[in-house]
């Protein structure tokens, strides 16, 4: 009996293509993609098993690029991505693909300076540092923003991500918006041709590099900076206020950003007075027309649950939940999925 059930499971795994689901007792819904939201997604899947024991989720955090590729090839039931899909990639989809935003996070400007002073940055200084034009900590542009802090005559060692990542996408998206020079010279992507700096692999690589190098400055995810007790600065937003990166200021960015109907939005440099400017959302990718009725029904039920109850778990894991207005729009979109 036991081995029979085991064989059954293997059978289900063999059919990982997922489209031709068998009527097995426990349905397996497969997803793949972004690594940034992996902690909260796995928490959701865990909690959802208690809500509906008849479905199981299998999520592979292989990166946004992989998630987009797999949902396009229909080898998974849903994809996940830290950046919205490009028009080019969307045109390859066999059906209409929906972007369902789930949670948001932020990149912080982390640094390593003796005495851990609290620093403030504005768009000009950040772009200048990453373009390699501001080279020293006591550059007048930095000192002007931080009166009262004595900054050393020390070289700024710029650290960036070397691996392709959603974190870099948010960072370069922000720089492209605030600096025309960056936009033409470098641009926005999950990895770019950096004008300066050294590359660390992953958040842990960048954090390690910053912590080990006096005078280093780089960007890491907010959660990561908090967990590693790193110093990070406030950033001047487009309303002219200095915003501290926090769950509240990220949600404020989500609430004030201009969000189009297809949900392919960017919340960097959002206009709100309290918005933290270097923030970004993460999305689930699902087909509007579900192929498998039974599976599609379960998937829609889960998405609704995630938007209603799942969102409440976001804060505990240091993710910013969607503001109410956006949440309602997302719920409406989920209703439109055809089974």
């Amino acid at each position: 009996m036991k081995s029979f059930r085991f064989a059954h499971k293997i059978f289900a795994v063999v059919l990982l293509g997922g489209i031709s689901a068998t009527a097995s007792a426990q349905m397996m819904i497969n997803g793949a993609g972004a690594t940034f939201p992996y902690p909260i997604y796995s928490k959701w899947f865990d909690e959802y098993a208690k809500v509906d024991p008849s479905v199981r989720f299998n999520y592979q955090s292989i990166g946004s690029g992989g998630g987009q590729k797999q949902i396009l090839a229909q080898t998974v039931d849903f994809g996940a991505s830290d950046g919205p899909m490009s028009d080019e990639n969307l045109s390859k989809a066999p059906g209409k693909l929906l972007h369902i935003p789930t949670v948001a996070g932020a990149d912080v400007v982390a640094y390593n300076l003796a005495g851990n002073p609290a620093l403030k940055f504005d768009p000009d200084t950040i772009a200048g540092i990453f373009l390699g034009q501001i080279k020293k900590w006591n550059d007048p542009k930095i000192t002007a923003l931080n009166s009262g802090v004595t900054l050393p005559d020390q070289e700024i060692v710029v650290v960036h991500r070397s691996d392709g990542s959603g974190t870099t996408y948010i960072w370069t998206d922000y720089l492209s918006k605030i600096s025309p020079e960056w936009k033409t010279k470098v641009g926005t992507n999950t990895s770019v041709n950096w004008p300066t700096g050294i590359g660390g692999k992953g958040n842990e690589g960048v954090a390690g590099q910053i912590k080990q190098t006096p005078g280093a400055l780089g960007y890491v995810e907010l959660i990561y900076a908090i967990q590693n007790k790193m110093s990070f600065g406030e950033v001047k937003n487009s309303a002219g206020n200095f915003a501290k990166p926090s769950i509240e200021s990220i949600t404020a960015a989500l609430a004030t950003a201009d969000i189009p109907d297809d949900f392919r939005f960017s919340i960097t440099n959002a206009p709100g007075p309290d918005a933290y400017p270097i923030a970004g959302a993460t999305w689930l990718l699902v087909y509007e027309q579900q192929k498998d009725a039974a599976k599609g029904k379960k998937l829609v039920e889960f998405l609704k649950w995630a938007a209603k109850d799942g969102e409440k778990m976001a804060k505990d894991l240091q993710y910013a939940p969607m503001p109410e207005s956006l949440r309602q729009r997302v719920l409406k979109r989920i209703e439109e999925i055809k089974i």
Binding site: S165, V192, N193, K201, Q212
Partner: protein, 330 residues
């Protein structure tokens, strides 16, 4: 020699068979031959398939960039301009540094272990070296970031700069993460394999060699140098090639300490980038076709570099062994 024995047995067999009750079946022999042939061919097929797959996966990029892919060093995923030169340079230089450090260390260790070390210390030392090989690459990388890099930055690097700052190789600011640090971590990773293989080779040097050298009045050093190391030269070279193969493909630990900056700089204190690292770094998030294809082509280039390096090494080995035989004859 094997061939001759085989033929000798084959020649004997019909006679024995005629005298025996029934001809013994040679099916087992044949089957074994086919089986081993199939296994050997499988490796060849695998290599060819791998090359074919990489070629196919990068066809778009090959068509678009052509030979420029190998001669330019711009790597810009946004503008989709791809050139692999700085990665090729990084791979070769970091491997070279690794070999320069690891080869003398490994061969000296192997010589000590087989020729000089007291018996009681040999086994513990061998176990220790083999343990080094068991450390996962990513752990070594983390150790590299948190322990090795700060230490290198504070002590050996400034010393190198003071002593050799007049050469172009040790100039510029010291960040710690650098081509040199990458080379050093690869050296640590290839030490165990070169040492173990070298030790096996030195152990297989017949004792007759050593005894002959001593009989001629050689000192211990002379006996080791002339009778053992020189005799085993070919094998040791093979060990080095094995190490080189490892070095070229090393990924994780190198990625964490080399600085991942695609540039060609003379100074070893400057960060670099390797072929394997860029694949590991960017493959998961490459969303456009051309980007992915360029990464495939990087894989193809790495594949080619490894084969080329091995071929060159074989060639070198051959010229080396022919010159040494001629010298021996003379």
């Amino acid at each position: 020699m094997n061939g001759t024995t085989g033929r000798a047995i084959a020649a004997l067999e019909p006679q024995t068979a005629r005298h025996a009750m029934a001809p013994p079946s040679r099916f087992g022999d044949k089957a074994f031959e086919w089986l081993t042939l199939a296994m050997a061919l499988a490796v060849v097929v695998l290599v060819i398939l791998l090359g074919w797959e990489l070629w196919g996966g990068s066809s778009l990029a090959i068509r678009k960039f052509g030979f420029h892919f190998l001669t330019t060093s711009t790597w810009d995923p946004v503008a989709e301009q791809f050139g692999a030169l700085s990665f090729i340079y990084g791979t070769l230089i970091s491997s070279l540094i690794a070999l320069l450090i690891a080869v003398p260390l490994s061969i000296a260790t192997a010589a000590y272990l087989t020729e000089l070390a007291p018996l009681w210390i040999r086994q513990p030392l061998v176990s220790l070296i083999e343990m080094l090989a068991a450390i996962p690459s990513v752990i070594l990388g983390l150790w590299g970031i948190f322990v090795m890099i700060p230490w290198l930055r504070d002590y050996p690097f400034p010393l190198l700069k003071r002593l050799f700052g007049w050469t172009p190789f040790f100039t510029g600011p010291i960040y710690g993460t650098s081509m040199l640090a990458g080379g050093i971590i690869i050296a640590i990773m290839i030490l165990p394999i070169i040492t173990s293989v070298s030790r096996e080779i030195l152990r297989s040097v017949p004792n007759l060699q050593r005894e002959a050298a001593y009989a001629l009045g050689a000192t211990r050093w002379e006996a080791t140098r002339i009778a053992v190391l020189s005799y085993a030269k070919k094998g040791l070279f093979g060990a080095v090639i094995l190490g080189l193969g490892r070095a070229l493909g090393e990924t994780m630990a190198v990625t964490m300490v080399i600085g991942n900056t695609p540039q060609i700089a003379a100074s070893l204190f400057k960060p670099g980038y390797t072929l394997a690292s860029v694949i590991a770094n960017e493959f998961t998030e490459a969303t456009t076709d051309m980007y992915l294809q360029a990464l495939f082509e990087i894989g193809l280039v790495l594949f080619g570099t490894t084969i080329l390096a091995n071929l060159l090494a074989q060639l070198l080995l051959q010229t080396m062994s022919t010159t040494s035989t001629t010298r021996a004859v003379q």
